[in-house]
Symmetry: C2
Subunit: 542 residues, 2 copies
């Protein structure tokens, strides 16, 4: 059986565009005389549609779109994801479903049984879990059709008390198909392959897997749809971070792109470029602005933005104060020259002095401190926002995950922006990204990479005056944030008790700042944002 | 049987304080020769503990605290809420449980069956639902003990496919006890009573209901614990918005506080005062700062803050520009005088001119517009934050729900703050709050109440230049936000089609601003914040 997999980039709620893409792929499949074409989970609505699902009108539009697509399915069967209404009075009002369409109509609808409700996922917020599974039939072949998480209960600590494949396999299907919206993190592709391989082996039949590609605000889908044989060996693999259309049959052996040879940093790099690009394209934005400090974070963000949006669409702004070093100026200018981008240079000293003058009565006799440092950071944020408001540039935030974790940043200052590009990348990894960017051609001046990190908000300031060195800080942050190790476990792992308590307290007491950050492109299994939900008012470890 | 209900105000993760309060109440119960004392849902950890639940260390502390309390239960039985570990490999790792303690030890543990996962609730994120219910025994009496949502499947559109009471009633219990963490909204107390009454009637036994009181960041618990007889009639009711300790027996008839006579605006008023107060008390903050514009929003927030924190702890700052009216100055000063609060007056014109001067090259030849208006709002935000950083005041945000809905506010300007006080109160309701505040004594000058709303960021500006009148806007916002009516339904209800589309587009395209607002005290069934999760990048209705 000739099968087409259409790995496409959808936009939440853009029915017109999503339907157009799906129809176009169906037309292509027909030309190729394909028997079955498969699309990803909730492709009609885009993923995740979030609380749009609570609007009856939104669901009606999904249904109309699905029926419109069904009418195109002549001489070909299509499988695609769409929310459907639960006809029962009891239970949640919706299902997360897969439509099976043929002969111009909907011939079967399969509902998702296992509803991921952790990290960024909120599926039980909207959907009723399916309790009775059945195989579908396409051209006389029995197929076990499941939706994403339905195959994931095969992990060592299974999150659900039953697995739909246990029922489906009793019907002796010839093939498994899984349609997914499985988001990227730097380790996810390998984990995904391992889980899918275990399924193919356990049930002893081939497996087709179809994933989303593209970014939806902070969530990045990496594609990598694939086919495995009944032994769990990869027999075909689709592109990562790009739309793709592929033909398989049950004995297919398309050359794998072999994702394993791609390094973690390369994957993060690709994900961030896609994340920036889709944030702009899906909102019809073209131009970005960002503050350039002379440090490594803004240098890396500038490079990524230029790659995603084009050098003519990115405006770096250098805003020196009396505390900015000469090197910051020359290094920043050298970077802009290497990238061939225009820049603005706007000194902030006069505005700063006017602020201090305005506040002289209130601040009279007090030593300069955090308040004065924050004023500088906020003047820069305001200048960037003023240019954004005047010329329509979207402000890219340049904070890294280490700073955001410990609250080493100024709310309404350097924490401003429409999108945080490297807010899920620890400082020590930002250096690796810089080296990766410089790998082919030295774009980021070496001086920016080797100098000691500094906010340059007072004379001779260094990050290490306030924070532990990043190579001490980042591993503890990783264990606390990604691995959810508590203080006792961290100390038992050999970390200094005082350091652990100091860092955990900083992380927890700065939750209020993270509440007000821009959306952060998610590249790790635990990013700040909707996937990590901590109380602002809370005494635990604070 | 003499039963004590302890309606207490807990703090998430503050084990020391929570345990202290619980032990104190148990000691009091012992003195009163009570047989059973009941506390609320997850009182050991505070509610909602959110992702703290993912830390093994946090769960260990809960368990230790529960055992410590159990050891106090000599000659009295205590029921209290605590997370527990699910011993099964399959399913989520935790249960949301009720401990039953007697003879110095834990004698039974009951798990919650129905896990609210909608609006602000995320319980299925953490907990496995209980599937086999049983009654507990206290002094030989059989009691159907359930946890909050377990009794709520009696609604007309039940969200769950089974109800634990259906099983429990088969054991012929004499009494129902429900421990809860049921958050306030302006209509919730009545809905709650109706649901509880339906349970008592349906199962024909008396019902004891014990709720949290106090605010946890944006979520406000209003207390109102109660007892109903087997006919569903209220026989005892506890205080609203305050801690309370009450003794009941199964034939009790404590005079009800009769919440029904309290108006919606009075309830909102009480909730906001508690919300501000707990945000400060639970973080050991004492002093608040806010910008005073001469408009009704900041006037109302100032009054609420003074009531919650004391007049000596609230600093209003008036920051006039060249566009501020004379009336704004005189009205603001009159308000401060009426409230006997000190204020600061800091003109912003010079800083504004210095900004314009700094940006003259970039802005050269362009007409003043939104960018210049936002600069003024942001200067005010920055001055407030500078004072906050210097003197430790927490900035109260004064935006109302109507503005936040349509994006009529400046990000990093008037949208700054640690806590949004009236961000869940529509403009038309802010007027009602003002009148309510003025009811006993005219605190807010009449001029502030009657003048046309204006941001005063350009000459003769009025909100109605940009927005529909609030009495047109608010009903449509209410239907769209609280009632989830889509565009077609709104038009069918008789609203102008153009107006509906204009408003819905404003709401949806301003999601990015709401992503960066401070936490908003929740007083309606659908507040902006964690209870309303919409995509930032999304084309639906935009």
């Amino acid at each position: 059986m000739k099968i087409a997999l259409a790995q496409l980039n959808y936009t939440v709620g853009d029915f017109e565009k999503n339907v157009f893409k799906i129809k176009e792929a169906i037309a292509r499949a027909k030309k190729e005389e394909v028997r079955l074409i498969v699309f990803s989970e909730l492709c009609i609505s885009g993923y995740p549609p979030r609380d749009f699902l609570e609007f009856r009108d939104f669901i009606d539009r999904c249904t109309r779109a699905a029926n419109e697509i069904a009418s195109e399915c002549i001489d070909v069967t299509a499988i695609f994801g769409c929310p459907t209404v639960n006809p029962e009075v009891e239970g949640k009002n919706l299902f997360n479903s897969a439509y099976v369409c043929s002969d111009g109509k909907v011939i079967d609808v399969i509902h998702k049984a296992l509803l991921p409700t952790y990290d960024i996922f909120d599926e039980y917020r909207y959907f009723e879990p399916n309790r009775k599974s059945h195989c579908i039939k396409v051209d006389g072949k029995k197929i076990a059709l499941t939706i994403c998480e339905d195959l994931w209960n095969i992990e060592d600590d299974p999150m659900y008390v039953h697995s739909p494949m246990e029922e489906l396999i009793k019907e002796n299907p010839e093939l498994m198909i899984n349609i997914a919206a499985s988001p990227f993190d730097y380790g996810h592709a390998e984990k995904r392959k391992s889980i899918l391989s275990r399924n193919a082996m356990q049930y002893g039949i081939p497996l087709l897997y179809l994933n989303h590609v593209g970014a939806q605000t902070e969530i990045i889908f990496d594609g990598g749809s694939l086919m495995m044989n009944e032994k769990g060996h990869l027999t075909g693999e689709m592109k990562y971070f790009e739309e793709d259309f592929a033909l398989f049959d049950l004995t297919s052996d398309r050359k794998a792109t072999n994702d394993k040879t791609v390094s973690k940093i390369e994957r993060i790099h690709s994900a961030l470029v896609l994340g920036i690009g889709d944030y702009f394209r899906k909102q019809n934005f073209t131009k970005a602005i960002l503050g350039l400090s002379g440090g490594i974070d803004s240098a890396v963000v500038l490079c990524l933005a230029v790659e995603a949006l084009g050098k003519e669409n990115v405006l770096p702004v250098f805003m020196p104060s009396q505390f900015s070093s000469k090197e910051s100026v020359t290094d920043s200018l050298a970077l802009c020259k290497n990238l061939e981008v225009k820049h603005e240079l706007i000194p902030i000293e006069k505005v700063y002095r006017e602020y201090i003058h305005t506040l002289q009565k209130q601040f009279n006799g007090l030593q300069p401190g955090i308040a004065e440092e924050n004023i500088q950071a906020r003047i820069r944020g305001m200048i960037l926002m003023a240019l954004s408001n005047k010329f329509g540039h979207i402000l890219l935030n340049t904070s890294n995950k280490s700073e955001i974790a410990v609250g080493y940043g100024t709310l309404y200052g350097d924490m401003c922006g429409g999108l945080s590009v490297i807010g899920d990348v620890y400082k020590t990894e930002v250096y690796k990204l810089a080296k990766h960017i410089n790998h082919i051609r030295a774009i980021i001046p070496e001086a920016i990479i080797i100098k000691a990190p500094s906010a340059e908000l007072r004379p001779d300031q260094k990050d290490s005056d306030t924070l532990p060195e990043y190579d001490q800080l980042d591993p503890i942050l990783y264990q606390y944030i990604e691995q959810r190790k508590g203080p006792q476990e961290l100390i038992e792992m050999g970390n200094d008790a005082g350091l652990v308590r100091r860092i955990l307290k900083l992380v927890n007491t700065n939750e209020y700042k993270r509440h007000q950050t821009p959306p952060i492109l998610r590249v790790s299994p635990k990013a700040f944002g909707q996937g990590r939900r901590l109380p602002i008012v809370g005494k635990y470890l604070s």
